[in-house]
């Protein structure tokens, strides 16, 4: 009988096939015993959030509205020769000034006149008078302001710098509530490298799982110190969102410009406490 295929070729084919089968069997065995049969998928932390109500702590918005510094109108340029402003009291409804003329002092209220100059308003360190439809500005001679029971004796330049600084105050404590200027948050989010100059933070793991961020260092006088954070604090949650994964931190980082209130839950000296802030 004639052979269809040579025995040599046949044995080679059998050899090759046996290698293929052997390799396949090895892989099947490895797959069944060692290899996982499903991949890893990210599941967002769907742990139900603690019931959390955030109440605005101040009475109304007007209370926490940023203090606006009144800027003088540009109109008054004329001088009032012979008249000195010695003191002033400037409240929202009352303006009282003490002026001196020829070594004689007079106390004027809003609408009162001295040499046909009518007192119309006042600023932090000046009084505005009007005469013949013209505005006159009288600046405080020795910066002695009685308004709000505060007496200032500094130079005009230093005084204006201080006033500017207070208006730009990033963290204000009012009625026991810390109010944070939103500009502070945005400055840190747009320049994150600034954060690490002022504060040192490291991940804190408990039982092999992230449970917060340890504060290793807070720069003296920095905004973080003013916020009340201290070295050794363990920052555990922000707005009741547990900091047990980097995702929570990043989602907060993304939404930081939209939040109105901030509650930091820190573990300090073994005790958990909340530090509350209102964002203006």
């Amino acid at each position: 009988m004639k052979q269809i295929i040579s025995s040599k070729l046949f044995s080679t084919l059998i050899f090759l096939l046996s290698i293929v089968v052997l390799v396949k069997i090895v892989w099947i065995a490895i797959s069944l015993t060692f290899l996982p049969n499903s991949g890893e998928e990210f599941s967002s932390n769907s742990k139900s959030k603690a019931l959390y109500f955030r109440v605005r702590l101040t009475n109304n918005k007007a209370v926490i509205a940023p203090v606006r510094v009144r800027t003088p109108r540009k109109a008054p340029v004329s001088s009032m020769r012979g008249i000195k402003l010695l003191a002033l009291y400037n409240a929202s409804d009352v303006v009282v000034v003490t002026v001196e003329k020829n070594r004689k002092t007079s106390v004027l209220g809003k609408g009162d006149k001295i040499d046909d100059f009518t007192l119309v308003s006042a600023g932090a360190d000046y009084a505005l008078f009007r005469k013949n439809s013209k505005n006159f500005k009288l600046t405080l001679e020795n910066k002695k302001t009685i308004g709000n029971q505060i007496r200032r004796t500094s130079t005009p330049k230093a005084h204006s710098q201080r006033e500017k600084a207070s208006s730009n105050e990033k963290i204000i404590e009012k009625d026991g509530i810390k109010m944070v200027n939103r500009g502070l948050l945005t400055s840190y989010t747009s320049h994150p490298e600034k954060i690490w100059k002022d504060i040192g933070i490291s991940e804190n793991n408990r039982n092999g799982h992230l449970n917060g961020f340890k504060i290793n260092y807070v720069k003296r006088g920095s905004d973080f110190e003013k916020l009340g954070l201290k070295r050794g604090d363990l920052l555990m949650a922000i707005n009741a969102e547990k900091l047990d994964n980097i995702g929570a931190v990043m989602s907060l980082y993304k939404d930081i410009n939209n939040i109105e209130n901030l509650t930091l839950t820190v573990e300090r000296n073994g005790k958990s406490e909340d530090i509350e802030y209102e964002i203006q």
Binding site: I19, F42, D244, N245, G247, A248
Partner: protein, 172 residues
């Protein structure tokens, strides 16, 4: 002699078949499992098995629970003498734009026996063009940026050389 030929041929054939017939998807799952130990999760990806490698499409990369990047396509090909890893369309998360490039349009990591002592890298994206090499014997990574666009975010990691321009150099 015939027997020796068979054994050598059989050995190389087995090596080739080991890769060709490997369950690449399951091996990828194993890689994912190992990556998860370091906090890296590749999620929502579409896996395609190929003879000499695999393709992953639309993968989201999470690091320690935070989405860091989205990868349109990742293609691995192992031809033994010439191996490539191509990554297309990487978009990084907005939150890390301060330290990482916004987009990496194309990256190719290549190893060829014609240049056996190094692994080369070529990439382009919002930062410009990057060309580099990893030399395992020297344990050195060197990446040059001949065309520079937006490198503000990671400029602090780079050095400027008079001849080579902006470059990143490190030892591991």
């Amino acid at each position: 002699m015939q027997m020796v030929k068979r054994i050598i041929g059989g050995f190389f054939l087995s090596i080739l078949l080991l890769w060709l017939l490997s369950p690449k998807q399951e091996l990828f799952y194993l890689l994912e499992k190992e990556l998860k130990k370091s906090g890296v999760i590749i999620s929502n990806e579409r896996f395609q098995d190929r003879w000499f490698g695999f393709v992953i499409e639309n993968a989201d990369i999470y690091v320690k629970g935070a989405k860091m990047a989205q990868v349109s396509k990742l293609e691995l090909n192992i031809f033994f003498l010439y191996n490539t890893l191509k990554i297309e369309g990487v978009t990084t998360n907005e939150a890390i734009h301060n330290v990482a490039p916004k987009d990496i349009n194309y990256t190719e990591i290549k190893y060829s026996v014609l240049d056996p002592l190094k692994v080369t890298l070529l990439a382009n994206g919002s930062f410009g063009i990057a060309k580099g090499a990893v030399t395992p014997l020297d344990k050195k990574i060197k990446i040059l940026l001949p065309v520079v666009k937006d490198i503000k975010a990671f400029k602090k990691f780079l050095k400027k050389d008079k001849e080579e321009g902006w470059k990143y150099e490190t030892n591991y």
